[in-house]
């Protein structure tokens, strides 16, 4: 039962009804306006990517007479551009960062979340971990850069894997710890009677129960990893090792007069996320919401 139904019930006279309809229409117009403001850049970008630069210069807002898919083909497979490489890099970095994050965050979350492992400075340590949520990345990246240089990791995708994981750990551990702490202690007791040790208790009993939290962790982090720019341009200078956002920025810089293919590069980088979003929009929203409100 919502409040709108309620008002309709309590004020059943025509004037109010008319006013309500008028108000609602006005509201819908305004809200659709907001929606347009959000959507138009995407539409415009996509349309541009299917035209030629010559066309765009003549009329920035025309529609393509024939969609030019060549832009995309050239972007991805032209040997001088080879955008597909950056997809591979981004997938590599995202995947391995996720694996590392999940391992560390579930182990840590279990250790921080379960009462069995309480010790004197645990809360204090956990607080230390959470302080990182407030750190601007700029405060870390100069030493991180020298560190990567010292160990010969600069210009490798692993440098990004290591640093992305570090960036993701506080929130991820927090989410996992919260979730683990809500699981009933009886589970542990029962498992212990069956002769499980701590690790198999974690691995076989507890971890399968935390799949919802784990999927949230994966979702939030993969989005951040996929879109990250600052570390990506700082740690990786070798052109073939770039991730998508870095490559995109460089590419549009190099081809600043070629709007069509520039737009195509933007759309290409966006498409994987958008497809996932179309199918999983509720999971996305829910995941990012719990991530923020609990973290």
């Amino acid at each position: 039962m919502t409040l709108t139904e309620m008002t309709v019930k309590t004020r059943r006279n025509l004037v109010a009804l008319w006013r309500r309809r008028f108000g609602l229409t006005l509201l819908t117009v305004v809200l659709l306006g907001v929606t347009l403001m959000v959507i138009i850049p995407f539409v415009w970008m996509t349309v541009m990517s299917l035209r030629t630069t010559g066309d765009i210069l003549r009329d920035p807002y025309g529609l393509p007479s024939v969609p030019r898919w060549e832009n995309y083909i050239r972007l991805l497979f032209d040997p001088q551009i080879s955008f597909y490489r950056y997809f591979i890099n981004s997938i590599f970095v995202t995947f391995f960062s996720l694996v590392l994050t999940c391992i560390l965050a579930t182990l840590g979350g279990y250790g921080f979340g379960r009462p069995r492992y309480e010790f004197k400075f645990r809360g204090w340590l956990f607080g230390l971990l959470l302080v990182a949520l407030m750190l601007p990345p700029q405060i870390m990246y100069i030493p991180q850069f020298t560190m990567m240089a010292k160990y010969g990791l600069l210009n490798t995708r692993w440098s990004l894997v290591l640093l992305y994981t570090a960036m993701a750990l506080p929130v991820s551990t927090y989410l996992m710890a919260t979730y683990f702490s809500q699981l009933p202690g009886e589970l542990e007791d029962a498992a212990r009677i069956d002769g499980c040790n701590d690790f198999s208790m974690f691995w076989r009993v507890m971890l399968p129960l935390t799949l919802p939290a784990l999927s949230t962790v994966i979702l939030i982090n993969s989005l951040h990893f996929w879109n990250e720019l600052l570390l990506a341009v700082t740690m990786v200078t070798e052109p073939t090792m770039r991730t998508l956002p870095a490559a995109m920025m460089m590419f549009v810089g190099e081809h600043s007069a070629d709007y069509a293919i520039g737009a195509a590069s933007l759309v290409t980088a966006m498409v994987p996320v958008l497809i996932l979003y179309l199918f999983l929009s509720d999971r996305f929203i829910e995941g990012l919401t719990t991530g923020a409100l609990k973290g």
């Binding site: 690790f199 190099e254 081809h255 600043s256 070629d258």
Partner: protein, 481 residues
């Protein structure tokens, strides 16, 4: 049981993680060590580099025992210059089969950032890189190799030897390929439309130029196409080029390098004239955001501006296929000398600056090979090839009769001969006969002065964001000591 297998894998992973995690504890110890080193004031880069060679040796030698030379070059978007560099690299490889050259193409800004970070880190830098004289800090930092005894300097004009040197530093650091000349391009079709005739001397006076800009603006054209979307020098070039004939190149150089106060009547007059021009509609509306490639198109294809102040590297971005943003060969523009402010001392002086060149980074593992490559480029025949391919003057002297590449050779490289003859005719007339080319060093002064110069002349005055007084104060407060 598969579960046991999983368990096993997981435990192994976790243990190796633990082990790996223990190791970095030594990192924290070495940090202490490093701190002590820092206090001791000096940490040598060389030592670090040697260490890193061991670490990265494996990926660096993928092709058996070939020496790998990594070459980072600007000009990603200039096919003719890519053509040249790739041809030279291929020639060198053919002559030296044990060397493998890998050229990577960049836009200039990210390239600079990358050189800076890799050199700071002491790892990941290429052997040969694009280098501009204005990056004096690279030379100061000791990142560049001295080319004094490397290049065949007798093949170069004297100014190109001086261009790679800095006061207070020993050594020459730059190989120049291009002998850039600052040109003023004019769109003759618009002039015709407005009924303006180009003067015999190809030079407008102060009042005439202002009037032309006003007429252009009234007809819906910008005065110049120059814009600053992605370069710190493309807008200020207009002011700088006007400065040279007025005060002469030496005075201009002292101002550019921040050696002398700019609070003089002359400098003030130049800025005031430029303020007048700006108010008359000299600059495009899109000045702030239009990038270097875009403003070329703005001039030659969209034809929305009367003039373009641009050095000879205009051809790199324009003499290429139209669908890649190049110009129609039938768009036959004309050249001018920069307008002369009343009382100018050097009317026909035109700045002959320098374009990006190449340098060897001190971190290279194969200095001899890298030096050999640059010396290899310094041959007269490559000077001729440069001009033939890129349609821009060469820093390497050559004899057109003997060194010019054969027609077959050029055809093999995709050059259509005769296509740009009109350009060269016009160029030779204006910058060969009318103008006297004077050499400047492009090095902008020290520390914050470089930024102040860019802020004042590239952004402030043209966009009306700074008054003349504010601009002069900004510059004077950042002068080099």
């Amino acid at each position: 049981m598969s579960k046991k297998l999983y368990l096993f894998i997981f435990v192994t992973l976790a243990l190796s993680m633990l082990l790996a995690a223990c190791q970095p504890q030594t990192v924290i110890e070495t940090v202490e060590v490093e701190k002590e080193k820092l206090v001791e004031v000096v940490t040598t880069v060389e030592v670090e580099v040697e260490k890193l060679v061991e670490v990265t040796a494996v990926p660096d030698q993928p092709k058996g025992d070939k020496t790998l030379i990594v070459w980072w070059s600007h000009w990603a978007n200039e096919p003719a210059k890519r053509n040249f560099v790739e041809k030279v690299a291929a020639d060198y490889e053919a002559a030296n089969p044990d060397v493998d050259i890998v050229v990577t193409w960049w836009d200039k800004n990210p390239l600079r950032d990358a050189i800076r970070s890799t050199m700071t880190a002491g790892e990941g830098a290429p052997d040969i890189t694009t280098f501009d004289t204005e990056m004096r800090e690279w030379a100061d930092a000791g990142w560049l190799m001295d080319l004094e005894d490397v290049l065949p300097w007798e093949n170069f004009g004297p100014s190109f030897y001086n261009d790679g040197r800095y006061a207070g530093l020993d050594g020459v650091f730059k190989l120049n390929l291009s002998a850039a000349v600052d040109m003023v391009l004019v769109n003759p079709y618009i002039m015709e439309e407005l009924g303006i005739e180009l003067p015999e001397s190809r030079q407008f006076t102060q009042a005439e130029f202002l009037d032309v800009v006003k007429q252009c603006n009234a007809a819906g054209y910008a005065g110049v196409a120059n814009s600053i979307g992605n370069r710190p020098h493309t807008g200020r070039r207009v002011i700088e080029d006007i400065m040279v004939p007025y005060v002469g190149v030496d005075q201009f150089g002292r101002w550019l390098r921040g050696e002398e106060s700019v609070d003089t009547p002359e400098f003030r007059k130049i800025l005031e004239f430029n303020v007048e021009l700006a108010e008359a509609g000299m600059y495009p509306d899109v000045y702030a955001t239009m990038g270097i490639d875009e403003y070329h198109v703005y001039f030659h294809t969209q034809q929305k501006a009367c003039f373009l102040f641009n050095p000879t590297w205009y051809t790199g971005r324009s003499f290429k296929p139209v669908e890649q943003g190049g110009q129609d060969p039938n768009f036959q523009f004309k050249f001018m000398l920069p307008p002369l402010i009343d009382g100018g001392v050097a009317p026909n002086n035109v700045r002959s600056g320098v374009e990006s060149g190449y340098a060897i980074l001190s971190s290279t593992k194969h200095p001899d090979v890298a030096k050999d490559i640059l010396a290899f480029i310094g041959q007269p025949k490559y000077g001729a090839l440069w001009t033939a391919l890129t349609d821009s003057p060469s820093a390497i002297l050559y004899d057109a009769a003997t060194d010019w590449p054969s027609l077959e050779e050029l055809e093999a490289l995709g050059v259509e001969s005769g296509k740009w003859d009109w350009y060269w005719e016009e160029f030779n007339y204006v910058y060969g006969e009318l103008a006297e080319l004077v050499v400047t060093s492009e090095s902008v002064g020290c520390g914050n002065y470089g930024d102040a110069w860019v802020q004042a002349l590239n952004e402030g005055i043209p966009q009306g964001l700074l008054t003349v007084d504010e601009a002069i104060e900004l510059l004077d407060s950042n002068l080099c000591q």
